[in-house]
């Protein structure tokens, strides 16, 4: 009975913490973008706009839910849920401190990568179910792009796995107690850069946000969504980005390692994840969007071969440095 409760309560706490983080990350991004653009950003709701995310959430909940008559209702209604679920599940295997996490699987990173690629199903359902040309084009682009960038994303994420010698996320974090993988000579930096680039692309953030591409496709696959369904999609996207940021902090920045007492670990982890998130945001607000064929070319011609080579190089280095191998 007690185990059962723990099994329920743990995920419940993690999920709510994630929801809170995701909500407030929107404010962080808006403030950060505003500073980049010499604006102030949200300021009116609460002190320094601190209540803005809550106001946004309430507004979205109270919006009318419009379903287009021509939409495929089942697919249309199901899509936000199918989309948001994998985006939340990816947090399942992330340990936030030693022993603090929902499920520290021994194939944690594999689970993360597999589940994170599932978002494409919801995305395509949304694009297809809306019965809208913009949405359909966007869904076609989505499949193209997500598939092209998941491979470099996986290869970049596997480099730390090789260095740590384990697929278990807590082992990878523990392996960095001496040296964060981002500081690992040459390989670490290259892998980190590849990771950031492919994260930006795999998460469909600008300059790779061709699915949303509001100057071409209005709002892409979510053009017909309103109210809470729109909020779910938005939530899923942000959760996915945050999930990838946590993964980046865990794989390259030493997870919870940091000065101070041990209970500060989760705080350090959060700060590092936010750092990765801001890196992604920085890229987003500085570049113009690139075209769909250029995005695919970048992945297949540059990123994929280079990450693959990097992976092989890492494997050689690991073998060479392992005594007795």
């Amino acid at each position: 009975m007690r185990d059962w409760l723990v099994l329920l309560i743990g995920p419940f706490i993690v999920m709510n913490a994630i929801l809170a983080i995701v909500t407030y990350v929107t404010l962080l991004e808006r403030k950060f973008a505003a500073r980049m653009q010499s604006r102030i950003g949200p300021y009116r709701v609460g002190p320094h706009g601190l209540l803005q995310p809550i106001a946004d959430a309430i507004k979205l909940m109270m919006k009318e839910d419009v379903v287009p008559t021509a939409a495929d209702r089942t697919v249309y209604n199901l899509a936000p849920i199918v989309f948001v679920l994998p985006c939340m599940f990816i947090f399942a295997t992330i340990p936030f401190a030693p022993g603090l996490g929902v499920a520290d699987l021994n194939i944690g990173i594999l689970f993360f990568l597999a589940i994170s690629a599932m978002e494409i199903v919801g995305l395509f359902m949304a694009g297809w179910g809306s019965n809208n040309k913009y949405a359909l084009l966007s869904a076609m682009r989505a499949v193209n792009q997500v598939i092209s960038y998941d491979l470099p994303f996986i290869f970049a994420a596997l480099t730390p796995v090789l260095l740590a010698g384990s697929l278990k996320l807590s082992d990878i974090a523990a392996a960095q107690s001496g040296l964060w993988f981002v500081f690992y000579p040459v390989i670490g930096q290259l892998a980190f850069i590849a990771f950031i680039v492919s994260t930006v692309a795999a998460e469909n953030r600008a300059p790779f946000d061709i699915l949303e591409a509001e100057s071409e496709l209005v709002a892409g696959f979510r053009v017909e969504y309103s109210g809470m369904k729109f909020a779910l999609i938005q939530l899923g996207e942000y959760a996915h980005v945050i999930g990838a940021s946590f993964l980046g902090a865990l794989l390259f920045l030493g997870a919870w390692a940091g000065p101070g007492p041990e209970w500060l670990g989760p705080v350090w982890f959060l700060l590092k994840a936010m750092f990765v998130f801001l890196l992604i945001t920085w890229v987003r607000w500085s570049f113009v969007r690139i075209r769909v064929d250029q995005i695919l070319a970048l992945s297949w011609k540059a990123l994929l071969p280079s990450t693959l080579l990097l992976l092989i190089a890492t494997a050689l280095v690991v073998v060479w440095r392992t005594p007795g191998a």
Binding site: M36, L137, S215, E216, R284, I290, R291
Partner: protein
């Protein structure tokens, strides 16, 4: 630097599925109310049908009902992004018919406002164009907000000169309506210097950005022949290698007094049009500095204080006047019948003529290029539909 043209995609139409997609009249990237009916094959555009007329406001008919003193402030509503130059074309036509002299100081003030207006218009163009390519939730918005920040400075200048920020009514037949207030020249110089600096910043931000280059190089190439055949003008024409500028070819309003260069690029793609406009920023700012240096004293209008309708009468005759607007040749054809109102008036909108090139260059490009090309043409729909 050599830029190769994007190869025209030859498509096999048999057995493939096509999608007809509306871009506009209500669309985030439609500049105004342009509607392009795109025929797509996958992501590639194979046909484009341009539909205009959503913003028609009977400007030319309206001109027949308003006196020569009243219409200039309405003329600014044709091209509301570069309001000064539309007024300019109208009053120039009236001045040619009436053989009305314009005092030197008024001519110089006209030059200064036209050039500041060109800078303001190009700033808005740069911002919105990057917004088209970069997205409202991406890097494009950053450039957009920077550009708007600088445009505000020019609008502030206009506000302290005229009292209005967007539509001015500054030009009058025979001169201009207001003289510059005290301290305006110093403030103007300060603004000009600041914008000059910031332009360098944008250039660095964009031209050292590979994403920007791949989006613009070789995209939407207008050949020299096509440009001349379709009759486009302004930065588009100069981007295609034709050194044609009315300020140089047919100097008006003392443009011959100033030293400036007509920037020309030969590649004819989006990047060439961008470079032409970036160079025009600098040339315009240079002209503004020269005008402020040599601003003569004297009256600002040869027909000051018009009070009655009778005084606004212009003798019978007809004339076509053209000025170099931010988007090309802004022309006004006026027929006067001796009364205080024109008998007939016809606009030659620069955007209207420029828009005609779109169906020639868009097919074969991707959907994403359509917005880049459309943005680089810089149409203002108040001027297209009138």
């Amino acid at each position: 630097m050599s830029v190769t043209a994007a190869p025209r995609v030859e498509l096999d139409y048999t057995g493939s599925e096509r999608l007809t997609m509306n871009m506009g009249p209500q669309h985030p990237s439609a500049h105004g109310v342009f509607r392009a009916i795109l025929t797509l094959e996958g992501e590639t555009v194979v046909g484009v049908d341009a539909v205009i007329g959503y913003l028609h406001r009977c400007h030319e008919k309206l001109a027949e009902t308003l006196t020569y003193a009243q219409y200039p402030s309405i003329a600014s509503k044709t091209d509301y992004v570069a309001a000064m130059t539309s007024e300019f074309a109208y009053v120039r036509a009236a001045e040619i018919i009436g053989k009305i002299d314009v005092p030197k100081r008024a001519q110089y003030l006209r030059v200064i406002t036209s050039e500041l207006q060109r800078v303001a218009s190009h700033l808005l163009w740069l911002g919105t164009w990057c917004l088209d390519m970069g997205g409202a939730l991406g890097g494009g918005a950053t450039i957009f907000l920077y550009c708007i920040r600088e445009r505000e400075l020019i609008l502030d200048l206009f506000e302290s000169l005229v009292g209005a920020r967007l539509l001015y009514g500054f030009y009058q037949v025979g001169g201009v309506r207001y003289d510059i207030p005290t301290g305006w020249a110093a403030k103007c110089l300060e603004t000009v210097d600041l914008i000059d600096q910031r332009i360098n910043e944008y250039e660095r931000m964009l031209e050292e950005n590979p994403f920007f280059l791949v989006r613009t190089q070789g995209v939407g190439v207008i050949s020299r022949e096509l440009a001349q055949e379709v009759g486009i003008g302004g930065p588009l024409l100069r981007g295609s290698g034709v050194a044609y500028d009315i300020r140089r070819g047919e100097p008006y309003s003392s443009y011959e007094d100033f030293d400036f260069r007509v920037p020309v690029e030969t590649s004819g793609d989006c990047l060439a049009r961008y470079r032409v406009r970036m160079a025009e920023f600098r040339e315009s700012l240079k002209i503004v500095r020269q005008v402020l240096d040599g601003l003569p004293e004297g009256p600002i209008s040869s027909r000051p204080g018009l009070k009655s309708v009778a005084q606004t009468r212009i003798p019978k005759g007809e004339a076509y006047a053209r000025v170099e607007g931010a988007r090309g040749e802004v022309g006004c054809y006026l027929i006067a019948d001796g009364s205080a109102k024109p008998y007939r008036m016809k606009w030659r909108g620069a955007s209207f003529s420029n828009l005609a090139v779109l169906p020639h260059i868009i097919p074969g490009h991707k959907v994403a290029d359509v917005v880049a090309i459309m943005g680089s043409v810089d149409p203002v729909f108040g001027e297209v539909d009138r």
